[in-house]
């Protein structure tokens, strides 16, 4: 029921698109019909070039996200044990996290050239902060009774971090990962558009400015769907790792 409703909205959107382009209100050159874009998409999906670009973008994105996850969690666990360090770090984080990914592209090119490290730098910087901020906040707001319980039953400070504060923080950490996944896609495409020689972002940029608008719309669609798939993967990972929380949340919020 819910799925058919969601699908209905998508179908309606494409119908409207088709109607508007058929009415001749917009230039077919800049705004091709939905069917034209769909044909371009099918043609594109049959080429090896497209899949090579897709693989390049996917590898950049997932590598960047994995590094951001490791560094972000590591940093949060570090600040969980050293409050002073967190006080020093957080103002810097506040600045870094609001910097738009394209703003870093020139400096990244100066420092790291045009190679894969430049892309990783931009993607990691976009994805690390939501992970770090969510994890650090969650690790520092563990239910006090749980910590007292851990202490009363003989757990050391580091055991309390690993066996109480970390599992208790997981639901919020997964929210951070979900936000980070969206930011990572945004940063990957932006960096590829500005400084890439391959990848979906580069292809989109080329198609757009060489007036291959059907291909451009097809690529936008692919990137959008890719984003949805990534979000679904993070939800799936959440279900696997913290099934208890999924059930608890479902109980608290009956649909």
């Amino acid at each position: 029921m819910r799925w058919s409703k969601r699908l209905f909205g998508v179908i309606l959107f494409f119908l409207l698109w088709q109607l508007i382009s058929a009415s001749g209100l917009v230039s077919a050159e800049y705004f091709p019909a939905a069917t034209t874009a769909a044909r371009a998409l099918l043609g594109m999906l049959a080429t090896a070039d497209f899949w090579a670009s897709f693989a390049t973008t996917a590898v950049r994105l997932f590598t960047g996200l994995a590094i951001a996850l490791a560094l972000g969690l590591g940093l949060a666990l570090l600040t969980a044990r050293a409050v002073l360090f967190r006080r020093m770090l957080d103002p810097l984080v506040e600045i870094m996290r609001v910097l738009p990914p394209p703003a870093l592209v020139p400096i990244a090119i100066y420092g790291l050239g045009l190679g894969p490290r430049m892309f990783l730098f931009i993607i990691v910087n976009a994805a690390i902060w939501p992970i770090y901020i969510n994890a650090a906040n969650a690790l520092s707001s563990t239910e006090p009774m749980q910590i007292l319980t851990g202490r009363a039953y003989g757990y050391s400070a580091s055991q309390i971090l690993w066996r109480l504060r970390f599992p208790a923080a997981l639901p919020e950490i997964f929210i951070g990962i979900r936000i980070a996944a969206g930011f990572a896609l945004l940063a990957t495409i932006a960096a590829e558009m500005l400084a890439g020689t391959n990848g979906l972002g580069y292809q989109l940029y080329n198609a757009g400015f060489s007036l291959e608008t059907p291909q451009m719309f097809a690529l936008m669609f692919v990137i959008g769907v890719f984003g949805v798939v990534i979000q679904m993967l993070t939800i799936l990972a959440r279900r696997i790792f913290i099934s208890w929380h999924t059930t608890l949340a479902a109980m608290a919020q009956p649909l």
Partner: protein, 294 residues
């Protein structure tokens, strides 16, 4: 609640009869396992700081069951947190098994009043009980799980060991918390209103279970409660606290026969006299002007 309490098995009841009494000292003098000496504690910061505990002293003997009663808000939970080594003292000292307490010592476990927040929501009821057995390092994980299963069965939760705490009722959560405290096999068990959330019938059964298990594992118990009947029924001695800043105003011995019986004990003339004396003492405390702390 719907679930039944399984009757404690025969071997458990048999062991209760042979367990040694509270006073195990050869000369008849009880050996103290816990000694609180003139302890004081304030909570809050700056202007909001208030003195909660004011020079409180008492002992708990090896194997003894002691209850602490007093008007609500008098600082019973704060006192228990201090005794558990979870709060630092402003003044005075606490010795547990002959050593001063600075942090939660081995051999002491706590059943918190706030059971729902002290149970870990990502662990099953069984794993929550196993969590309390951290200090039983010589037991294998398998043995710990077996022991936890037995204890959950004795509090009537066999069918719920794989449920999460938030999937069972408040009364059942409280029993999980008690099972976790018992599973640690500590020499001293600190109980903070452990039966406040269970219905009257279950409460009576849990009282007998706590008494039986405490004797079975030769545990000393310190119970904090506002329920005078429960204090008299369970205890060898009852300590009465004043309003905040709290002081010990009275200690009453409860020389009732053991094992206690929910019907016979509660009809005993001595039980009724002690209960009467305690209730009068507490009523007098409530109506009197609270003492101002130094």
């Amino acid at each position: 609640m719907g679930d039944g309490i399984s009757h404690p098995d025969a071997s458990l009841s048999a062991q209760v009869g042979t367990a040694s009494g509270p006073h195990s000292g050869t000369s008849g003098v009880p050996i103290p396992i816990l000694e609180a000496r003139r302890i004081s504690k304030s909570l809050g910061v700056a202007a909001a700081r208030i003195q909660v505990i004011d020079h409180v002293s008492f002992d708990v003997a090896e194997g003894e069951f002691v209850s602490v009663v007093g008007p609500s808000g008098c600082g019973k939970t704060t006192l228990l947190m201090c005794l558990a080594g979870l709060y630092s003292l402003d003044a005075g000292s606490i010795q547990f098994a002959g050593h001063p307490i600075t942090e939660p010592p081995p051999g002491l476990s706590v059943v918190f009043q706030d059971y729902s927040r002290s149970l870990l929501p990502w662990k099953s009821n069984l794993e929550n009980v196993v969590f309390g057995m951290r200090r039983l390092a010589d037991l294998s994980r398998q043995t710990k799980r077996e022991t936890a299963r037995e204890i959950l069965a004795s509090v009537g939760l066999s069918r719920f060991e794989n449920h999460y705490p938030w999937q069972v009722s408040g009364g059942m959560q409280q029993r999980v918390a008690i099972a976790r405290g018992l599973a640690a096999r500590s020499r001293l068990l600190l109980l903070d209103e452990p039966l406040a959330a269970v219905d009257a019938q279950t409460r009576a059964e849990m009282q007998d279970l706590v008494l039986e298990l405490a004797q079975r594992y030769r545990q000393s118990c310190l119970l904090v409660t506002h329920d005078v009947d429960e204090a008299v029924y369970l205890s060898d001695r009852v300590i009465v606290l004043s309003q905040r800043p709290t002081r010990v105003v009275e200690e009453i011995m409860v020389p009732l026969a053991k094992p206690r019986d929910q019907i016979a004990t509660r009809e005993d003339r001595l039980y009724l006299d002690i209960r009467h004396a305690l209730l009068e003492r507490i009523r007098a405390l409530k109506t009197s002007v609270p003492a101002t702390g130094p």
